[in-house]
């Protein structure tokens, strides 16, 4: 369970997150929408500590996030997988190596740290990595270098890397913004399947309204750092959804 209480974040005097209050239950799938610059990325990055709020409290699974404690942050991040718009893979390494790097957090001290730094992983971990690559349908490309994969394949490698962490939570920041419609559909279906089968909480920043309507029960709309809608997708009609975007554009124009 993720809870935000009065979270505030400023960049240069501008409130990017302006009093966020939010509850996300374990196992839920949530879409976050909102115009560009409304604070979506900032919001989800407070969950794994890449953004430190100026005030307010974020707690994950009952623990208040201690942003000044490095060890706490590492332990927090181990349980949170992150999926990016530009995949953030090491392009010159193979798909398998990228997936394996997902379990580094589990080897953060002692011999485990030593061996993983040299480049050794246990047989079980290698098998898990292969299994995850098969789960995302890329077993045959395991030894292929990532720069030879297509965009959709890269995103699937990135998802496998996140699953390698055995996470409780998946944060996805516009995971389909750089993919074609058909591939996008597959990636979203994959993320939702992970959410359902593995009971992993999914928080997904999206721009494509149709995708949101068709796939997510709950939707959170942000505008200028404020939550302007949080509830069932079904109780919003198309026009209202569009308005979230349009209204803000009117505001910006004004």
């Amino acid at each position: 369970m993720i809870v935000f209480k009065n979270v505030l974040k400023r960049y240069g005097g501008i409130k990017v997150l302006d009093g966020i209050n939010l509850n996300i239950q374990t196992g839920e799938a949530v879409a976050i929408i909102g115009p560009s610059g409304s604070g979506k990325t900032t919001l989800i990055r407070t969950i794994n500590g890449f953004v430190v709020p100026d005030s307010g409290v974020v707690s994950v699974n009952g623990d208040v996030v201690d942003y000044s404690n490095k060890k706490f942050l590492r332990n927090l991040r181990k349980k949170i997988g992150m999926i990016y718009q530009l995949f953030n893979l090491v392009e010159r390494a193979s798909a398998l190596e990228n997936v394996l790097s997902g379990c580094l957090g589990r080897h953060d001290n002692g011999m485990g740290l030593l061996f993983s730094t040299i480049g050794f992983f246990s047989k079980e971990e290698k098998e898990l990595a292969m299994e995850l690559l098969r789960f995302v349908g890329l077993e045959h490309k395991a030894f292929e270098r990532v720069d030879r994969l297509s965009g959709g394949e890269k995103q699937r490698v990135a998802i496998a890397r996140a699953l390698m962490q055995k996470p409780d939570i998946l944060l996805a920041d516009e995971p389909i913004a750089n993919l074609d419609p058909k591939t996008s559909k597959k990636i979203i279906e994959l993320l939702l399947r992970i959410n359902e089968e593995k009971k992993i909480t999914l928080i997904c920043v999206l721009h494509h309204l149709e995708t949101v309507e068709n796939n997510f029960k709950r939707i959170i709309a942000l505008n200028r750092g404020k939550i302007i809608y949080d509830g069932f997708t079904s109780s919003l009609n198309r026009a209202e959804l569009l308005a979230i975007y349009e209204e803000s554009e009117l505001c910006e124009a004004a």
Partner: protein, 517 residues
Amino acid sequence: MRSSIATDLPRRLNKFFWYVIISVIILYSFKISRVDVFSFISGFSYSWSLIKEMFPPNFSHFDKIIILTFETISIGFWGTVIGIIISFPLGLLSSRNLFQGLPYIISRGIINFLRAVPDIMFAMLFVIAFGLGPIPGILALSLSTVGLLGKFYSEAIESVDRKPVEALESTGSRKTGIIRYAIIPQVFPLFMGYNFYLLDHNIRVAMVLGLVGAGGLGLELYNEMRSFNYQRVSALLIIVCIVITLIDRISTKMSKDIIEGEFLSGKNKVINLFLISIIGLISVISLFFIPVDFQEIISGVPRIFEFITGLFPPNLSGIDRYLYLVIETVSMGITGTVIAIFLSIPLGVLSARNILHSRIVNSLSREIINFLRAMPELIFALIFVSAVGLGPFAGVLAIALHTVGFLGKFYAEAIENIDKKPVEAIESTGARFIQKVRYAVLPQIIPLFNSYNLYLLDRNIRASTVMGVVGAGGIGFELIMSMKVLDYQRTLTIILLILITIVIVDYISHYLRKRVV
């Protein structure tokens, strides 16, 4: 499932196999070049005592030094000018999009040949023909300039935008018109950039051509070194360093202006013209100092032909000794490169601005790197021969130092250009700093490093073929000896061996570099 993990094993074995091969080659090279811990320890103490003997520098013959400096600059300048004049037609002829068939093949062949032969070998040849002095230096530089510029020119021409060319073709224009109005305007700024690069390069080379008698500061340096006038040597070295640093600064500024399209425009106009005219003026004035004896030049021409006919047939006796020296030469290149790699990693890291956020440290290590790159390795070699004695160790040290000038710069750039996205992704899994470096940074830079290292290895094996000219090991010593005792049939054998080695090494390095990135 199990089977797919098993496919990992042959990969690992293959990798392991290559690591073993490479380690054996490197260890063997160190052995052949006689480089070990003890040679380093004694090398340090010898170098220290040499440095002590060099102080204080003796500037009593300052006027002579200045004249020689001017002479050196003008050797570089005139060599570049003549080189540019010859390169222009050859570059056009060797551009595939302008000429095909025989003209293309011949001009390309000439350029490739001139590029394969080390510049100092041309200088030796012309010293035989025209005697000691600046003339052989100018001629040698002209030829090696053509080898480099001809290739740069034709590559630039081959990558021009086709559209203006086609537009002119459709008006029925002749080839000369197309070249004048569609090609030259496109390539002119690039050509200017290359010309300045070559001028910079040639003035530096002019410093060392004197080591084989082709005039300039190098000749004086060599003579003072051989008569153990170390305080005069240090005075000369200080001047060499100052000139080289100045030229390096000027050329960096000029090429920056050219790349940014600011050359000769606006506020740069005055400074650019000023710098060019200073170099030009020095070179014109120096013409009065250079003893140009046309009689001598004319009588020298037949001596070139005498030399060339005297080369045949190659004398193959003693080839086994030469083959060993070829191995020694290659080993020197490998050893020097390996040492340089170890020195370059810390320097590269220190100069990368995204790793170490200290302006002072960044620019200090950058200055060291720039200096090492600007100093010709034969000058280092000359110094090390005096410090640690004749033999390959001096050559290895010289190559290593000069190479740090390249690798340090390349490494720093590679580190500064890494993609930060995967670094954050690894951090978001809860990994530690060292794991981030290992899994997000190193995989990005190691392939680049390998490619740079191979490029430098190739270059260094080429450079080690001429280290022997100052007694710093390798086959170059036999080359210059055979020329000195007029045993030209041996000279040919050695030249052929050197060229074959260079071609093979070039081929291997090209093949490997395509595979590593």
